[in-house]
Protein backbone atom coordinates (compact mmCIF):
# COMPACT_ATOMS: atom_id res chain seq x y z
CA UNK A 1 0.00 0.00 0.00
CA UNK A 2 2.80 2.35 0.89
CA UNK A 3 4.52 1.79 -2.41
CA UNK A 4 1.30 2.51 -4.21
CA UNK A 5 0.70 5.90 -2.62
CA UNK A 6 4.23 7.03 -3.26
CA UNK A 7 4.26 5.73 -6.76
CA UNK A 8 1.10 7.25 -8.02
CA UNK A 9 1.80 10.99 -7.97
CA UNK A 10 5.19 10.42 -9.51
CA UNK A 11 3.55 8.26 -12.06
CA UNK A 12 1.00 10.89 -12.89
CA UNK A 13 3.71 13.42 -13.38
CA UNK A 14 5.72 11.29 -15.72
CA UNK A 15 2.54 10.34 -17.54
CA UNK A 16 1.85 14.00 -18.06
CA UNK A 17 5.34 14.52 -19.39
CA UNK A 18 4.94 11.68 -21.80
CA UNK A 19 1.58 12.98 -22.95
CA UNK A 20 3.03 16.43 -23.44
CA UNK A 21 6.00 15.15 -25.37
CA UNK A 22 3.93 13.03 -27.66
CA UNK A 23 1.31 15.64 -28.44
CA UNK A 24 3.17 17.03 -31.40
CA UNK A 25 4.08 13.62 -32.70
CA UNK A 26 0.44 12.64 -32.63
CA UNK A 27 -0.72 15.73 -34.49
CA UNK A 28 1.53 14.80 -37.39
CA UNK A 29 0.41 11.21 -37.38
CA UNK A 30 -3.26 12.02 -36.89
CA UNK A 31 -3.93 12.94 -40.48
CA UNK A 32 -2.74 9.61 -41.84
CA UNK A 33 -3.76 7.24 -39.04
CA UNK A 34 -7.49 7.31 -38.51
CA UNK A 35 -8.94 6.10 -35.26
CA UNK A 36 -10.49 2.73 -35.96
CA UNK A 37 -11.20 -0.63 -34.41
CA UNK A 38 -9.74 -4.02 -35.24
CA UNK A 39 -6.33 -5.36 -36.13
CA UNK A 40 -3.67 -2.82 -37.10
CA UNK A 41 -0.96 -4.62 -39.08
CA UNK A 42 2.58 -3.66 -39.92
CA UNK A 43 3.14 -5.03 -43.41
CA UNK A 44 5.95 -4.75 -45.95
CA UNK A 45 6.18 -5.96 -49.54
CA UNK A 46 9.55 -7.59 -48.79
CA UNK A 47 8.37 -8.77 -45.37
CA UNK A 48 11.26 -6.82 -43.86
CA UNK A 49 10.67 -5.08 -40.55
CA UNK A 50 12.83 -2.85 -38.42
CA UNK A 51 12.07 -2.95 -34.71
CA UNK A 52 13.67 -0.85 -31.99
CA UNK A 53 13.84 -2.15 -28.44
CA UNK A 54 13.53 0.95 -26.29
CA UNK A 55 11.94 2.29 -23.15
CA UNK A 56 8.87 4.43 -22.64
CA UNK A 57 5.81 4.83 -20.49
CA UNK A 58 2.30 3.49 -20.67
CA UNK A 59 -0.66 4.77 -18.73
CA UNK A 60 -3.16 2.75 -16.75
CA UNK A 61 -6.79 3.80 -16.27
CA UNK A 62 -6.27 4.60 -12.59
CA UNK A 63 -3.80 7.34 -13.50
CA UNK A 64 -0.62 5.37 -13.01
CA UNK A 65 2.24 5.49 -15.47
CA UNK A 66 4.47 2.48 -15.93
CA UNK A 67 8.03 2.40 -17.19
CA UNK A 68 8.20 -0.24 -19.95
CA UNK A 69 10.48 -1.76 -22.55
CA UNK A 70 9.02 -2.75 -25.89
CA UNK A 71 9.66 -3.38 -29.59
CA UNK A 72 8.43 -0.41 -31.58
CA UNK A 73 8.53 -0.02 -35.34
CA UNK A 74 11.82 1.88 -35.83
CA UNK A 75 10.03 4.52 -37.92
CA UNK A 76 7.54 5.27 -35.18
CA UNK A 77 7.83 5.95 -31.49
CA UNK A 78 7.68 3.64 -28.48
CA UNK A 79 4.59 1.47 -28.29
CA UNK A 80 3.20 -1.38 -26.20
CA UNK A 81 2.83 -4.14 -27.20
CA UNK A 82 5.40 -4.44 -29.97
CA UNK A 83 4.27 -3.80 -33.52
CA UNK A 84 1.90 -6.46 -34.86
CA UNK A 85 3.74 -7.99 -37.83
CA UNK A 86 1.58 -9.53 -40.57
CA UNK A 87 3.27 -11.81 -43.11
CA UNK A 88 2.43 -14.47 -45.65
CA UNK A 89 3.15 -18.13 -45.01
CA UNK A 90 6.04 -19.66 -46.95
CA UNK A 91 7.74 -16.35 -47.75
CA UNK A 92 10.98 -15.09 -46.22
CA UNK A 93 10.76 -12.69 -43.28
CA UNK A 94 13.49 -10.34 -42.08
CA UNK A 95 13.37 -8.62 -38.69
CA UNK A 96 16.14 -6.16 -37.91
CA UNK A 97 16.37 -5.49 -34.18
CA UNK A 98 17.97 -2.25 -32.99
CA UNK A 99 18.65 -2.14 -29.28
CA UNK A 100 18.48 1.15 -27.43
CA UNK A 101 18.17 -0.54 -24.04
CA UNK A 102 20.99 -0.52 -21.48
CA UNK A 103 21.37 -4.29 -21.68
CA UNK A 104 21.51 -6.90 -24.42
CA UNK A 105 18.20 -8.11 -25.81
CA UNK A 106 16.99 -10.41 -28.54
CA UNK A 107 13.90 -11.82 -30.23
CA UNK A 108 12.83 -15.44 -30.35
CA UNK A 109 10.12 -16.55 -32.77
CA UNK A 110 8.53 -19.60 -31.17
CA UNK A 111 6.99 -21.84 -33.83
CA UNK A 112 9.20 -20.60 -36.67
CA UNK A 113 11.75 -23.05 -38.02
CA UNK A 114 15.38 -22.51 -39.07
CA UNK A 115 15.60 -18.97 -37.76
CA UNK A 116 18.91 -17.31 -38.53
CA UNK A 117 20.66 -14.50 -36.69
CA UNK A 118 23.02 -12.45 -38.86
CA UNK A 119 23.04 -15.39 -41.28
CA UNK A 120 23.99 -18.02 -38.71
CA UNK A 121 21.63 -20.51 -37.10
CA UNK A 122 19.87 -18.87 -34.15
CA UNK A 123 20.96 -20.78 -31.07
CA UNK A 124 21.56 -20.42 -27.34
CA UNK A 125 24.49 -18.27 -26.28
CA UNK A 126 26.82 -19.03 -23.38
CA UNK A 127 29.45 -17.00 -21.60
CA UNK A 128 33.03 -18.19 -21.16
CA UNK A 129 32.02 -19.95 -17.95
CA UNK A 130 29.38 -21.96 -19.76
CA UNK A 131 26.36 -20.12 -18.37
CA UNK A 132 23.43 -19.43 -20.67
CA UNK A 133 23.28 -15.73 -21.55
CA UNK A 134 20.58 -15.71 -24.21
CA UNK A 135 18.33 -18.14 -26.06
CA UNK A 136 19.47 -16.60 -29.37
CA UNK A 137 22.13 -14.18 -30.56
CA UNK A 138 21.25 -10.80 -29.02
CA UNK A 139 21.71 -7.20 -30.05
CA UNK A 140 24.28 -5.64 -27.75
CA UNK A 141 23.27 -3.00 -25.23
CA UNK A 142 23.18 0.66 -26.27
CA UNK A 143 22.77 0.66 -30.06
CA UNK A 144 23.65 -2.92 -30.94
CA UNK A 145 21.66 -4.62 -33.67
CA UNK A 146 21.00 -8.08 -35.03
CA UNK A 147 19.06 -9.35 -38.05
CA UNK A 148 16.81 -12.37 -37.81
CA UNK A 149 15.58 -14.20 -40.89
CA UNK A 150 13.23 -17.12 -41.34
CA UNK A 151 10.55 -18.44 -43.64
CA UNK A 152 7.08 -17.75 -42.29
CA UNK A 153 5.64 -21.02 -41.00
CA UNK A 154 2.14 -22.44 -40.99
CA UNK A 155 -0.67 -19.89 -40.99
CA UNK A 156 -1.83 -18.67 -37.61
CA UNK A 157 -0.79 -16.44 -34.75
CA UNK A 158 2.53 -16.46 -32.91
CA UNK A 159 4.16 -14.53 -30.16
CA UNK A 160 7.51 -12.96 -30.72
CA UNK A 161 9.36 -12.15 -27.53
CA UNK A 162 12.68 -11.63 -25.85
CA UNK A 163 15.07 -14.56 -25.50
CA UNK A 164 17.39 -12.73 -23.10
CA UNK A 165 16.92 -12.50 -19.32
CA UNK A 166 13.45 -13.68 -20.18
CA UNK A 167 11.63 -13.32 -16.84
CA UNK A 168 12.65 -9.72 -16.50
CA UNK A 169 12.49 -8.61 -20.12
CA UNK A 170 9.14 -10.25 -20.78
CA UNK A 171 7.70 -8.58 -17.68
CA UNK A 172 9.16 -5.30 -18.93
CA UNK A 173 7.12 -5.60 -22.15
CA UNK A 174 9.34 -7.14 -24.82
CA UNK A 175 6.68 -9.04 -26.78
CA UNK A 176 4.47 -8.67 -29.81
CA UNK A 177 2.24 -10.59 -32.20
CA UNK A 178 3.20 -12.21 -35.49
CA UNK A 179 0.24 -13.00 -37.77
CA UNK A 180 1.03 -15.50 -40.52
CA UNK A 181 -1.58 -15.52 -43.26
CA UNK A 182 -2.22 -18.41 -45.64
CA UNK A 183 -0.69 -17.73 -49.06
CA UNK A 184 -3.35 -16.33 -51.35
CA UNK A 185 -6.03 -16.36 -48.65
CA UNK A 186 -5.57 -13.30 -46.46
CA UNK A 187 -9.06 -13.68 -45.02
CA UNK A 188 -8.61 -17.20 -43.71
CA UNK A 189 -7.04 -18.08 -40.39
CA UNK A 190 -5.38 -21.18 -41.84
CA UNK A 191 -5.29 -23.12 -45.11
CA UNK A 192 -8.76 -24.53 -44.58
CA UNK A 193 -11.60 -22.84 -46.44
CA UNK A 194 -13.79 -23.19 -43.34
CA UNK A 195 -11.49 -20.81 -41.46
CA UNK A 196 -12.59 -17.84 -43.60
CA UNK A 197 -13.59 -14.67 -41.79
CA UNK A 198 -15.17 -11.37 -42.80
CA UNK A 199 -12.55 -9.01 -44.20
CA UNK A 200 -11.77 -6.34 -41.63
CA UNK A 201 -13.41 -8.23 -38.77
CA UNK A 202 -10.12 -9.43 -37.39
CA UNK A 203 -8.87 -8.85 -33.86
CA UNK A 204 -5.69 -9.54 -31.92
CA UNK A 205 -5.98 -9.94 -28.14
CA UNK A 206 -2.48 -9.97 -26.76
CA UNK A 207 -2.88 -10.65 -23.03
CA UNK A 208 -0.24 -9.58 -20.55
CA UNK A 209 0.34 -8.46 -16.99
CA UNK A 210 2.38 -5.88 -15.12
CA UNK A 211 3.89 -5.81 -11.66
CA UNK A 212 4.57 -2.08 -11.24
CA UNK A 213 7.16 -2.70 -8.51
CA UNK A 214 9.38 -4.59 -10.92
CA UNK A 215 9.15 -1.75 -13.41
CA UNK A 216 9.95 0.84 -10.78
CA UNK A 217 13.01 -1.13 -9.67
CA UNK A 218 14.27 -1.44 -13.24
CA UNK A 219 13.61 2.24 -13.89
CA UNK A 220 15.63 3.15 -10.80
CA UNK A 221 18.33 0.61 -11.54
CA UNK A 222 17.60 -1.20 -8.30
CA UNK A 223 17.50 -4.96 -7.72
CA UNK A 224 14.18 -6.66 -8.44
CA UNK A 225 12.58 -8.57 -5.58
CA UNK A 226 11.13 -11.43 -7.61
CA UNK A 227 9.98 -13.31 -4.52
CA UNK A 228 7.56 -10.49 -3.73
CA UNK A 229 6.46 -9.90 -7.29
CA UNK A 230 2.69 -9.68 -7.84
CA UNK A 231 0.98 -8.57 -11.02
CA UNK A 232 -1.36 -5.60 -10.47
CA UNK A 233 -2.35 -4.64 -13.98
CA UNK A 234 -3.76 -6.95 -16.63
CA UNK A 235 -3.94 -5.88 -20.21
CA UNK A 236 -5.35 -6.63 -23.62
CA UNK A 237 -3.01 -5.16 -26.25
CA UNK A 238 -1.23 -3.08 -23.62
CA UNK A 239 -4.44 -1.47 -22.38
CA UNK A 240 -6.69 -2.09 -19.37
CA UNK A 241 -10.46 -1.56 -19.12
CA UNK A 242 -11.87 0.98 -19.93
CA UNK A 243 -9.00 1.99 -22.25
CA UNK A 244 -9.66 -1.28 -24.09
CA UNK A 245 -12.88 0.31 -25.39
CA UNK A 246 -11.05 3.25 -26.97
CA UNK A 247 -10.23 3.25 -30.68
CA UNK A 248 -6.88 2.36 -32.18
CA UNK A 249 -4.51 5.32 -31.93
CA UNK A 250 -6.63 7.10 -29.35
CA UNK A 251 -4.72 10.35 -28.79
CA UNK A 252 -4.81 10.06 -24.99
CA UNK A 253 -2.97 6.72 -25.19
CA UNK A 254 -0.03 7.75 -27.37
CA UNK A 255 2.13 4.69 -26.69
CA UNK A 256 -0.72 2.16 -26.54
CA UNK A 257 -2.05 2.24 -30.10
CA UNK A 258 -4.16 -0.94 -30.15
CA UNK A 259 -7.77 -1.08 -29.03
CA UNK A 260 -9.68 -4.24 -28.09
CA UNK A 261 -13.29 -3.71 -29.12
CA UNK A 262 -14.95 -6.41 -31.21
CA UNK A 263 -17.70 -4.86 -33.32
CA UNK A 264 -19.85 -7.13 -35.47
CA UNK A 265 -23.35 -7.72 -36.81
CA UNK A 266 -25.42 -10.88 -36.41
CA UNK A 267 -24.81 -13.83 -38.66
CA UNK A 268 -26.98 -13.79 -41.79
CA UNK A 269 -26.64 -16.41 -44.54
CA UNK A 270 -27.12 -13.80 -47.25
CA UNK A 271 -25.67 -10.56 -45.93
CA UNK A 272 -23.20 -11.54 -43.21
CA UNK A 273 -22.26 -15.19 -43.68
CA UNK A 274 -18.74 -15.20 -42.27
CA UNK A 275 -17.55 -14.94 -38.67
CA UNK A 276 -15.02 -12.58 -37.17
CA UNK A 277 -11.67 -13.92 -35.99
CA UNK A 278 -10.00 -13.21 -32.67
CA UNK A 279 -6.38 -14.15 -32.14
CA UNK A 280 -5.51 -14.64 -28.46
CA UNK A 281 -1.90 -14.58 -27.28
CA UNK A 282 -0.58 -14.92 -23.74
CA UNK A 283 2.63 -12.99 -23.10
CA UNK A 284 2.31 -13.32 -19.33
CA UNK A 285 3.28 -15.83 -16.67
CA UNK A 286 -0.07 -17.38 -15.71
CA UNK A 287 -3.18 -18.69 -17.42
CA UNK A 288 -5.71 -16.11 -18.52
CA UNK A 289 -9.14 -17.76 -18.60
CA UNK A 290 -10.66 -15.31 -21.04
CA UNK A 291 -14.31 -15.54 -21.96
CA UNK A 292 -16.87 -13.43 -23.73
CA UNK A 293 -20.38 -13.43 -22.35
CA UNK A 294 -23.18 -14.33 -24.68
CA UNK A 295 -21.55 -16.68 -27.15
CA UNK A 296 -19.02 -19.45 -27.52
CA UNK A 297 -16.15 -19.16 -29.92
CA UNK A 298 -14.87 -21.80 -32.33
CA UNK A 299 -11.23 -22.69 -31.68
CA UNK A 300 -9.63 -23.37 -35.07
CA UNK A 301 -5.91 -22.92 -34.38
CA UNK A 302 -3.55 -23.53 -31.49
CA UNK A 303 0.02 -22.22 -31.49
CA UNK A 304 -0.10 -21.60 -35.23
CA UNK A 305 -1.47 -24.98 -36.19
CA UNK A 306 -4.93 -25.69 -37.54
CA UNK A 307 -6.97 -28.18 -35.57
CA UNK A 308 -7.45 -31.00 -38.03
CA UNK A 309 -6.84 -34.72 -38.16
CA UNK A 310 -4.36 -36.56 -40.40
CA UNK A 311 -6.94 -36.90 -43.16
CA UNK A 312 -7.92 -33.27 -42.85
CA UNK A 313 -10.86 -33.87 -40.51
CA UNK A 314 -12.14 -30.72 -38.87
CA UNK A 315 -11.15 -30.92 -35.20
CA UNK A 316 -12.15 -27.37 -34.31
CA UNK A 317 -14.50 -27.02 -31.36
CA UNK A 318 -16.83 -24.57 -29.67
CA UNK A 319 -15.50 -23.19 -26.41
CA UNK A 320 -16.85 -20.77 -23.84
CA UNK A 321 -13.72 -20.25 -21.75
CA UNK A 322 -10.64 -19.60 -23.89
CA UNK A 323 -7.93 -20.73 -21.55
CA UNK A 324 -4.79 -19.21 -23.02
CA UNK A 325 -1.65 -20.52 -21.34
CA UNK A 326 1.63 -18.61 -21.03
CA UNK A 327 3.39 -18.47 -24.38
CA UNK A 328 0.38 -19.96 -26.16
CA UNK A 329 -1.85 -18.67 -28.90
CA UNK A 330 -5.43 -19.59 -29.71
CA UNK A 331 -7.22 -18.44 -32.86
CA UNK A 332 -10.99 -18.50 -32.84
CA UNK A 333 -13.87 -17.75 -35.17
CA UNK A 334 -16.72 -15.89 -33.57
CA UNK A 335 -20.17 -15.01 -34.78
CA UNK A 336 -23.35 -13.95 -33.09
CA UNK A 337 -26.47 -15.82 -34.09
CA UNK A 338 -30.01 -14.64 -33.60
CA UNK A 339 -31.38 -18.17 -33.34
CA UNK A 340 -34.97 -17.37 -32.47
CA UNK A 341 -35.41 -14.22 -34.53
CA UNK A 342 -37.20 -12.25 -31.91
CA UNK A 343 -38.73 -9.09 -33.22
CA UNK A 344 -40.76 -6.60 -31.27
CA UNK A 345 -43.48 -6.40 -33.95
CA UNK A 346 -43.28 -9.51 -36.15
CA UNK A 347 -42.18 -12.13 -33.64
CA UNK A 348 -42.86 -10.71 -30.22
CA UNK A 349 -41.97 -13.43 -27.78
CA UNK A 350 -42.89 -12.14 -24.34
CA UNK A 351 -39.78 -11.95 -22.25
CA UNK A 352 -38.66 -10.66 -18.97
CA UNK A 353 -35.19 -9.31 -19.15
CA UNK A 354 -33.25 -11.85 -17.14
CA UNK A 355 -30.87 -10.84 -14.43
CA UNK A 356 -27.81 -12.32 -16.06
CA UNK A 357 -24.50 -10.65 -15.74
CA UNK A 358 -24.53 -9.37 -19.31
CA UNK A 359 -27.38 -7.13 -18.41
CA UNK A 360 -27.02 -6.70 -14.72
CA UNK A 361 -23.31 -6.29 -14.61
CA UNK A 362 -23.42 -4.29 -11.44
CA UNK A 363 -26.56 -3.59 -9.46
CA UNK A 364 -29.20 -2.01 -11.64
CA UNK A 365 -26.81 -0.60 -14.20
CA UNK A 366 -27.44 -2.56 -17.33
CA UNK A 367 -25.82 -2.58 -20.72
CA UNK A 368 -29.00 -3.15 -22.62
CA UNK A 369 -31.71 -1.10 -24.24
CA UNK A 370 -34.46 -2.34 -21.94
CA UNK A 371 -35.51 -4.65 -24.72
CA UNK A 372 -34.49 -8.18 -25.53
CA UNK A 373 -34.89 -7.41 -29.24
CA UNK A 374 -31.81 -6.45 -31.17
CA UNK A 375 -32.41 -3.04 -32.72
CA UNK A 376 -35.28 -2.14 -30.39
CA UNK A 377 -35.22 0.22 -27.46
CA UNK A 378 -37.81 0.43 -24.77
CA UNK A 379 -38.20 3.25 -22.31
CA UNK A 380 -36.11 3.10 -19.22
CA UNK A 381 -37.80 1.85 -16.05
CA UNK A 382 -37.57 4.26 -13.15
CA UNK A 383 -35.04 2.14 -11.29
CA UNK A 384 -32.72 1.66 -14.25
CA UNK A 385 -30.18 4.03 -15.60
CA UNK A 386 -29.35 3.05 -19.11
CA UNK A 387 -30.25 3.22 -22.74
CA UNK A 388 -28.02 2.94 -25.75
CA UNK A 389 -27.28 4.13 -29.26
CA UNK A 390 -29.50 2.05 -31.54
CA UNK A 391 -30.58 -1.05 -29.66
CA UNK A 392 -27.18 -2.68 -30.02
CA UNK A 393 -25.86 -5.22 -27.56
CA UNK A 394 -22.68 -5.04 -25.56
CA UNK A 395 -21.37 -8.32 -24.25
CA UNK A 396 -18.73 -8.12 -21.59
CA UNK A 397 -15.63 -10.18 -22.35
CA UNK A 398 -13.06 -10.58 -19.63
CA UNK A 399 -10.69 -12.79 -17.73
CA UNK A 400 -12.66 -15.03 -15.47
CA UNK A 401 -9.91 -14.82 -12.85
CA UNK A 402 -11.46 -11.82 -11.22
CA UNK A 403 -8.28 -10.24 -9.89
CA UNK A 404 -7.26 -10.03 -13.55
CA UNK A 405 -10.33 -7.86 -14.15
CA UNK A 406 -9.14 -5.04 -11.91
CA UNK A 407 -6.84 -2.05 -12.09
CA UNK A 408 -4.59 -2.60 -9.08
CA UNK A 409 -7.49 -4.23 -7.27
CA UNK A 410 -10.16 -1.71 -8.35
CA UNK A 411 -13.01 -3.44 -10.20
CA UNK A 412 -13.87 -3.30 -13.02
CA UNK A 413 -10.76 -2.94 -15.04
CA UNK A 414 -7.83 -4.94 -16.28
CA UNK A 415 -8.35 -7.70 -18.80
CA UNK A 416 -11.86 -6.70 -19.81
CA UNK A 417 -13.55 -5.26 -22.86
CA UNK A 418 -16.88 -5.52 -24.68
CA UNK A 419 -18.07 -7.21 -27.85
CA UNK A 420 -20.49 -4.92 -29.62
CA UNK A 421 -23.30 -6.45 -31.70
CA UNK A 422 -25.18 -4.05 -33.97
CA UNK A 423 -28.63 -4.64 -35.44
CA UNK A 424 -28.58 -6.19 -38.95
CA UNK A 425 -29.39 -2.83 -40.53
CA UNK A 426 -26.53 -1.13 -38.71
CA UNK A 427 -26.58 1.82 -36.42
CA UNK A 428 -28.25 4.93 -37.82
CA UNK A 429 -26.17 7.35 -35.80
CA UNK A 430 -22.91 5.92 -37.11
Amino acid sequence: MKRLTIRRPLALLSAAAVIGASALVWSQAAASVAMSEGLLCDTDSNQTFSLTAEDGYVSTPDGNSIYMWSYGNSKRSFQLPGATLCVESGKPVTVVLHNKLPEATSIVFPGQKSVKANGNPAQPQFDSGGSLTSLVQPAAANDGSVTYTFTAGSPGTYLYETGTDVDKQLQMGLYGALVVRPAGHPNQVNDRADSAFTAGKEYVYLLSEIDPDVHLAVERNQPVNWAASTARYFMINGRSMPDTLAPNNAPWLPSQPYGALVHIKPYDAATNPLPATIRYLNAGSVNYPFHPHGSDERVVNRDGHSLQGPAGQDLSYQKYDLDVGPGQTVDVLMDWRDTEHWNATTNPIPTQIPAITDQLLVGSDTWFSESGYLGTKNSVPANLTQNNECGEYYHIAHSHALEQATNYGAAFGGMMTVFRIDPPAGCASQ
Binding site: P9, I19, L245, P251, T385, E389
Partner: protein, 158 residues
Amino acid sequence: MFASAISKIRKVPGRWARRIVIVATVLVVGLAAGGYAIAKGSSGSTEFPQSSAIEAQYGVRFSRIAVVGDGGLITLTYVVLDSEKATRFQSDVQHPPELRSEKRDGGTKRVSVMKQGHTLRAGQTYYLVYQNTKGALQHSEKATVLVGSLSLQHAPVL
Protein backbone atom coordinates in the same frame (compact mmCIF):
# COMPACT_ATOMS: atom_id res chain seq x y z
CA MET B 1 11.83 20.51 -19.23
CA PHE B 2 9.48 17.88 -17.84
CA ALA B 3 12.31 15.39 -17.44
CA SER B 4 14.42 17.61 -15.22
CA ALA B 5 11.40 18.50 -13.11
CA ILE B 6 10.69 14.82 -12.61
CA SER B 7 14.19 13.90 -11.62
CA LYS B 8 14.28 16.67 -9.04
CA ILE B 9 10.96 15.71 -7.54
CA ARG B 10 11.83 12.05 -7.47
CA LYS B 11 14.70 12.70 -5.11
CA VAL B 12 12.40 14.33 -2.55
CA PRO B 13 11.00 11.77 -0.13
CA GLY B 14 8.18 12.03 2.37
CA ARG B 15 4.50 12.75 2.57
CA TRP B 16 4.72 16.51 2.35
CA ALA B 17 6.69 16.28 -0.83
CA ARG B 18 4.08 13.96 -2.22
CA ARG B 19 1.38 16.57 -1.78
CA ILE B 20 3.48 19.07 -3.67
CA VAL B 21 3.90 16.53 -6.38
CA ILE B 22 0.16 16.02 -6.59
CA VAL B 23 -0.37 19.73 -7.08
CA ALA B 24 2.44 19.94 -9.60
CA THR B 25 1.04 16.91 -11.33
CA VAL B 26 -2.34 18.47 -11.78
CA LEU B 27 -0.71 21.55 -13.24
CA VAL B 28 1.45 19.57 -15.60
CA VAL B 29 -1.42 17.35 -16.67
CA GLY B 30 -3.38 20.48 -17.43
CA LEU B 31 -0.50 21.90 -19.44
CA ALA B 32 -0.04 18.66 -21.29
CA ALA B 33 -3.72 18.49 -22.10
CA GLY B 34 -3.54 22.04 -23.33
CA GLY B 35 -0.52 21.24 -25.42
CA TYR B 36 -2.34 18.35 -26.97
CA ALA B 37 -5.36 20.42 -27.87
CA ILE B 38 -3.17 23.14 -29.39
CA ALA B 39 -1.29 20.54 -31.36
CA LYS B 40 -4.54 19.19 -32.72
CA GLY B 41 -5.53 22.70 -33.75
CA SER B 42 -8.96 22.56 -32.15
CA SER B 43 -10.81 25.80 -31.67
CA GLY B 44 -11.71 27.56 -28.43
CA SER B 45 -10.49 26.59 -25.01
CA THR B 46 -7.84 23.93 -25.08
CA GLU B 47 -7.80 22.60 -21.52
CA PHE B 48 -10.21 20.38 -19.76
CA PRO B 49 -12.12 22.91 -17.68
CA GLN B 50 -12.31 22.73 -13.90
CA SER B 51 -15.00 23.65 -11.44
CA SER B 52 -13.99 24.46 -7.89
CA ALA B 53 -17.67 24.21 -6.89
CA ILE B 54 -17.92 20.64 -8.18
CA GLU B 55 -14.61 19.75 -6.61
CA ALA B 56 -15.71 21.14 -3.26
CA GLN B 57 -19.09 19.44 -3.28
CA TYR B 58 -18.27 16.08 -4.87
CA GLY B 59 -14.55 15.69 -4.21
CA VAL B 60 -13.74 14.87 -7.83
CA ARG B 61 -12.06 16.63 -10.73
CA PHE B 62 -13.31 15.51 -14.13
CA SER B 63 -10.39 14.89 -16.45
CA ARG B 64 -11.53 13.48 -19.78
CA ILE B 65 -14.57 12.74 -21.92
CA ALA B 66 -13.95 10.29 -24.74
CA VAL B 67 -16.23 8.66 -27.29
CA VAL B 68 -15.32 4.95 -27.31
CA GLY B 69 -16.98 1.65 -28.26
CA ASP B 70 -16.85 2.69 -31.93
CA GLY B 71 -19.18 5.57 -31.14
CA GLY B 72 -21.58 3.70 -28.88
CA LEU B 73 -20.02 4.37 -25.49
CA ILE B 74 -18.48 7.29 -23.64
CA THR B 75 -15.93 7.24 -20.85
CA LEU B 76 -15.90 10.04 -18.30
CA THR B 77 -12.82 9.96 -16.10
CA TYR B 78 -12.21 11.83 -12.89
CA VAL B 79 -9.45 12.24 -10.37
CA VAL B 80 -10.43 11.77 -6.75
CA LEU B 81 -9.53 14.76 -4.57
CA ASP B 82 -11.54 13.89 -1.46
CA SER B 83 -12.03 10.21 -0.85
CA GLU B 84 -15.19 10.43 1.27
CA LYS B 85 -17.05 12.83 -0.97
CA ALA B 86 -15.97 10.99 -4.09
CA THR B 87 -17.15 7.66 -2.73
CA ARG B 88 -20.57 9.21 -2.07
CA PHE B 89 -20.60 10.74 -5.54
CA GLN B 90 -19.70 7.48 -7.16
CA SER B 91 -22.13 5.29 -5.27
CA ASP B 92 -25.11 7.52 -6.02
CA VAL B 93 -26.13 5.32 -8.95
CA GLN B 94 -29.48 7.07 -9.39
CA HIS B 95 -27.85 10.42 -10.13
CA PRO B 96 -24.81 10.08 -12.31
CA PRO B 97 -23.55 13.23 -14.01
CA GLU B 98 -25.30 14.00 -17.26
CA LEU B 99 -23.27 14.74 -20.37
CA ARG B 100 -24.83 17.16 -22.85
CA SER B 101 -23.65 18.21 -26.28
CA GLU B 102 -23.17 21.96 -26.63
CA LYS B 103 -23.68 21.81 -30.38
CA ARG B 104 -26.84 19.79 -30.71
CA ASP B 105 -29.74 18.53 -28.70
CA GLY B 106 -28.74 15.38 -26.99
CA GLY B 107 -27.09 13.99 -23.96
CA THR B 108 -26.68 10.92 -21.87
CA LYS B 109 -26.98 9.92 -18.27
CA ARG B 110 -27.03 6.19 -18.95
CA VAL B 111 -24.21 4.75 -16.92
CA SER B 112 -22.84 1.23 -16.97
CA VAL B 113 -19.95 -0.35 -15.07
CA MET B 114 -20.34 2.17 -12.37
CA LYS B 115 -19.45 0.72 -9.03
CA GLN B 116 -15.88 0.30 -8.09
CA GLY B 117 -17.11 -1.49 -4.98
CA HIS B 118 -14.83 0.11 -2.46
CA THR B 119 -13.45 3.35 -1.17
CA LEU B 120 -11.98 5.62 -3.81
CA ARG B 121 -8.42 6.69 -3.14
CA ALA B 122 -7.37 10.30 -3.38
CA GLY B 123 -5.08 11.06 -6.32
CA GLN B 124 -6.33 8.09 -8.28
CA THR B 125 -8.35 8.17 -11.48
CA TYR B 126 -11.69 6.37 -11.86
CA TYR B 127 -14.20 6.24 -14.64
CA LEU B 128 -17.82 5.96 -15.63
CA VAL B 129 -18.89 4.34 -18.89
CA TYR B 130 -21.96 5.86 -20.53
CA GLN B 131 -24.14 4.60 -23.30
CA ASN B 132 -23.85 7.19 -26.07
CA THR B 133 -27.63 7.49 -26.31
CA LYS B 134 -28.61 8.13 -29.93
CA GLY B 135 -25.06 9.26 -30.64
CA ALA B 136 -25.41 12.16 -28.19
CA LEU B 137 -21.72 13.14 -28.18
CA GLN B 138 -19.25 13.13 -31.05
CA HIS B 139 -15.48 13.41 -31.34
CA SER B 140 -13.93 16.90 -31.17
CA GLU B 141 -16.95 18.81 -29.95
CA LYS B 142 -17.64 20.44 -26.60
CA ALA B 143 -19.85 19.03 -23.89
CA THR B 144 -21.29 20.17 -20.59
CA VAL B 145 -21.12 17.95 -17.52
CA LEU B 146 -24.17 18.42 -15.30
CA VAL B 147 -23.88 17.09 -11.78
CA GLY B 148 -26.67 17.95 -9.37
CA SER B 149 -27.28 21.67 -9.73
CA LEU B 150 -23.70 22.33 -10.82
CA SER B 151 -22.25 22.27 -14.32
CA LEU B 152 -18.91 22.22 -16.06
CA GLN B 153 -19.02 23.77 -19.52
CA HIS B 154 -16.90 23.51 -22.68
CA ALA B 155 -15.34 20.16 -21.88
CA PRO B 156 -13.56 18.80 -24.97
CA VAL B 157 -14.86 15.48 -26.26
CA LEU B 158 -12.02 13.25 -27.46
